[in-house]
C-alpha cells in the first residue's frame, strides 16, 4: 500500500490536488484540511487528480459531495480527474457521478471550470 500523499499545483484559477495512495478514514482528514485551506484562501475551483489513488472509502466520497456543495455556493466546484477504473465503478455504482463531475483529461476538466 502506497503512503497517502497530497500535492498541490495550480492551473490558472483552478487548484489541482494530486492524490496518491489510499483515501480512507485515516488519511481523509489530511485532504479535508487541504481543501478547507483552499476555501479559506478563496479558491473554490478544485480539481482532484486521482490517477495514483489506490482506494477511496465511503466516508471520503460522502465528504467530497459536501465540499462540492460548499464550492458551488461560492461559484466554484470540486471535480475529479483521471479516476482509476475500479474506483470509477464504485463512484458510478453509488450514484456519485450524478453529483460529482468526473473528467478523463485535464483539458476537459479545466474547460468545464472555464464554462462555469
Amino acid at each position: 500500500m502506497k503512503d497517502f500523499r497530497i500535492e498541490r499545483d495550480a492551473r490558472g484559477d483552478v487548484q489541482v490536488i494530486r492524490l496518491t495512495g489510499s483515501l480512507d478514514m485515516y488519511s481523509f482528514p489530511r485532504l479535508e484540511t487541504q481543501i478547507n485551506t483552499l476555501f479559506q484562501e478563496n479558491y473554490y475551483a478544485v480539481l482532484l487528480d486521482c490517477r495514483d489513488l489506490d482506494y477511496i472509502g465511503s466516508a471520503g466520497l460522502g465528504a467530497l459531495i459536501g465540499f462540492a456543495k460548499q464550492a458551488r455556493e461560492k461559484g466554484g466546484d470540486v471535480k475529479l480527474l483521471n479516476v482509476p477504473e475500479r474506483i470509477f465503478k464504485i463512484i458510478e455504482l453509488l450514484g456519485f457521478t450524478k453529483v460529482l463531475q468526473v473528467h478523463n483529461t485535464e483539458a476537459s476538466a479545466l474547460a468545464s471550470f472555464a464554462k462555469g
Binding site: M25, S58, G62, A63, K69, L94, V99
Partner: protein
C-alpha cells in the same frame, strides 16, 4: 490453528461468534457480515469477538455494520456486546474517532495490544463474497445504498458527533433510497 483466509471468516464456539477480518473491511464486504450477524443475534447469540489482527483498514460503512451489531446486542433487553481484539494503533484511532470505543469492549488494557487467539477447536469458515480480491459478481446498487445508509445512521446513533461528519453522505443516500422507493424499486 486454522488457516488464515483473506476476507471475513466466522466461527461459532460456545455461543460466541468469532469474526476474523483479514484485508480490508469495506462496504463491499460489510453486507455478508451484517446478514450473518443478524441471523446469529436472532438465534440468541449475545457475544461477538472481532479479531482485527489481520485487518488492513476499515471504511465507515464497515465500521457502521459493526456498530449496528453492537447496538442490536444492547437493545430490547439484550445485554450482549461486541468485543474487538488485536485492534492495532491505526484501527484504534478509527474506532476512537467515531466514538465506537465506547460501544465496543476493546482488548487493549493499559495501552497494550493483546494478540487474540481463538479458542481451541474453533473452526472458521469464510463468509461468501467477503474476499475483496475475489469479488467477481457486480455489487447490487440498491443493496449497497441501503447498507451504507443504515451503517452511517448506526454511527450517528452511536455518537451524535458523527452527524457532522456524515450528514452530506446520509442525506445523499436517503434521497436516493427514498426516490427508489417512490419509483417502485426501478433501480434494483
Amino acid at each position: 490453528m486454522t488457516e488464515t483466509l483473506k476476507g471475513i471468516s466466522v466461527g461459532l464456539v460456545n455461543q460466541e461468534v468469532h469474526v476474523r477480518v483479514v484485508g480490508r473491511g469495506t462496504f463491499q464486504n460489510g453486507q455478508p457480515l451484517r446478514r450473518y450477524a443478524l441471523e446469529m443475534i436472532d438465534r440468541g447469540v449475545q457475544q461477538f469477538i472481532v479479531d482485527l489482527g489481520g485487518c488492513e483498514g476499515m471504511d465507515s460503512t464497515f465500521l457502521g455494520v459493526l456498530a449496528g451489531m453492537g447496538l442490536k446486542l444492547s437493545q430490547n433487553g439484550r445485554t450482549g456486546q461486541v468485543r474487538v481484539a488485536s485492534v492495532g494503533q491505526r484501527n484504534l484511532e478509527l474506532l476512537e474517532t467515531l466514538g465506537l470505543d465506547r460501544l465496543f469492549r476493546l482488548d487493549q488494557p493499559d495501552g497494550k495490544n493483546l494478540r487474540y487467539e481463538p479458542p481451541p477447536g474453533a473452526v472458521f469458515q469464510r463468509l461468501p463474497d467477503s474476499d475483496l480480491t475475489q469479488l467477481n459478481k457486480p455489487v447490487d446498487k440498491s443493496d449497497t445504498a441501503d447498507l451504507m445508509l443504515e451503517a452511517h445512521d448506526n454511527l450517528i446513533r452511536t455518537d451524535q458527533r458523527n452527524l457532522a461528519k456524515f450528514k452530506d453522505l446520509t442525506s445523499f443516500l436517503r434521497e436516493k433510497v427514498d426516490k427508489r422507493g417512490g419509483e417502485g424499486h426501478k433501480d434494483s
